[in-house]
Amino acid sequence: MADDTLLDIRNLRIEATVYPPGEDPHDIVIVDDVSLTLEKGKVLGLIGESGAGKSTIGLSAMGYGRGGVRITGGEVVLNGRDILQGGIRGLRKVRGKEVCYVAQSAAAAFNPAHKLMDQVVEAAIEHGSATRTEARERAVTLFGKLGLPDPDHIGQRYPHQVSGGQLQRVMTAMALCSQPDLIVFDEPTTALDVTTQIDVLAAIKEAIRDTGVAALYITHDLAVVAQVSDHIMVLRNGKKVEYGTAKQIIEAPKEEYTRELVSVRSIGHDEKTADKSPLLSVRNVTASYGGSVKVLKNVSVELSLGQTLAIVGESGSGKSTLARAITGLLPPSEGEIVFDGRTLPPRLDQRSKDDLRELQMIYQMADVAMNPRQTVRTIIGRPLEFYFGLRGAERDRRVDELLEEIEMGNGFADRYPAELSGGQKQRVCIARALAAKPKLIICDEVTSALDPLVADGILKLLLNLQKRENVAYLFITHDLATVKAIADSIAVMFQGEVVRYGQKSDVLAPPFDDYTDLLLSSVPEMQIGWLEKAIAGRKMESAGN
């Protein structure tokens, strides 16, 4: 072992007790025989889909297991000694001093009751590595280095008073403030908007380089990890799949699974041109939630039967509000919605049963969009009963057909949602929407909560169904890769307004407006060095302005 080895995890085995419905509780293996080494000052990316055990491995470097998770075998050697041997007291000396943690959602990971500064300096003071004054000075320097506005005073704010992207930087500063040897970054940019992600990513990378701290960088996004890591380890179901330099993994992956991850989002389809008589036409719609702030401003878009209109924007751009206006959940204050040749009544309770049937919706969180106490049969059967009066055997036959259509066998009909995977849940939601034989389905971020490969499967399914059923999709998403894959036409939204709208080939071709340009240039690309180029491009632009 070389002298500059910082972290050496050997034959790590991690187990947890699970309590499946209807079965006795038993132990399952979450991480199985994983070994890794990390040199001082280097960055190792841990990548995999949910359930790969990447967060669990990251936390094991701090001797920590979430919930009922236990480290049951192996060694975690940090700075030459096995931290698992020191008991909880020994671990407390390591945590916050030698190893610090940056969580996925800084908004949840900061205590709402305390000022940012008090939380940032806490670990450093607690471990005696700095006096309060020193720690504060250090924090202010770090705030500046991480590009936070007003570094001298931002620490006096409470977590809810700063934005999500800023909080994520403050959390990085909090980790660096203890001057640790290692930082575990657990999906630090996943919850951020794409234009914010790129800045935070650049700030993190620079901070790592300047301070010489080593890092475990955990993410499901290979394009992101390629920007910050020296080495990458690909994990699947708690086992190591492949390990190599970032360059090798991205450019010459050896394993089939890694190749799939690298080539994800390569779906495409031929764009269809819009019909003369659209199925849906949103005309000059303006809407607000009670107050004077307009969440939608004079929005007009059209969608033809059997085609897909993608609504793209970041959080707060009004894209979900547009869906609420179309479905009648939020009656617009101005404008009208014409569907299939008739003007829809603005309010949900004024619409006819056919209006409701022809316009279905699929949500981001399939989990909470289904009643956990109903079987798949009941969930899919409900619209069949409600709209078509199907009962008994007739209904069951139709449920089986629908399950066939979403590429799930009828063995799933008697399962409960909790017994399905994330992708399967979303498929059931799709079947439920299809059951009504709609002309338009509104898909609100339906792939955002899913792993890339699973999301790809859902997108392919949606495209197939569109061909077969000639259904139109209004596809709301923040993810431009998804848009490229599925859309015929695109509307880019920013602060409640449509800033760019047209056929996909037109919208995605230059010349761009400023916002679309920013949005497009922020999407991480699967190539080493993309981040530097993108940031350099931005600086030149602002210098040019």
Partner: protein, 318 residues
Amino acid sequence: MGIVTRLVAQRLALGLLLLLAVSVLIFIGTQILPGDVAQSILGQSATPQALANLRRDLGLNEPAITRYFSWLGGVLTGDLGTSLTSGGNILSEISTRLANTLFLAAVAAVIAVPLAIFLGLLAVRYRERWPDKLISAVTLSTISLPEFFIGYVLILLFAVQRQWFPSVATVYPSMSFLARLDAVILPALTLTMVILAHMMRMTRAAILNVMQSAYVETAELKGLSTFQVIWKHAFPNSIAPIVNVVMLNLAYLVVGVVVVEVVFVYPGMGQYLVDHVSKRDVPVVQACGLIFAAVYIGLNMIADIVAILANPRLRHPK
């Protein structure tokens, strides 16, 4: 501070409105009480003429609305009226009683509230282990026993067998503070045992709820000790539910202590109210009812205001 000031003002206004509504209810309630004041003052052998005269003197022949507003007007100017049975000024009669009740409640609260919160923190620190189970078992046992039983057991142990404290909580105006404290210590302990479990369990539940949060994990990953995590990171975020239960119990200390007062022969509000209900002394009953309502509403209002102040989102708007 704009939002906080507005919210607090809103609570105050609501509290006053509620108190006004309660005063109407109290007035109506005392009007439909069975029996006749004049009859109960003069007894069964009174002549109809005497009864009529007394009713006229007491103003009972006026319409209810008129009587309500003259009563309310009196209350607002600090005049609670005259007791029908003793003929004395209710305000001066009640004020010593109220002072006694508040003193006993205060002593009980000073012991019970910090103890309950401390035990709650301790139960979280050692959750599902023996200290947690012991604390729950003991406090739940004491709340399950009737107050009078606890009172008599304490008298037996500490007044009869040990003779550390008096068995009868006699207080009079010229007593010193320490003598007074000595007199009420047993009833205060009885009340403490009655309200401890509720507050302790709520503290425990509220903190455990917060212990699931991501920011508690952040604190653990900073290497803080479990007690630091609970005290600095979990407790400040569970204040609102705890304060609500504390205030509810404090209100109980003021308005619900009749049994304990009887057991220890303590001259407080509860006994005073019960006596005058049986004598049909309507003005006294109304005055007691109004004071109890004011205490109840006031304490709950304080709980609301503390919950507002404890929320950093309201205290420090964006």
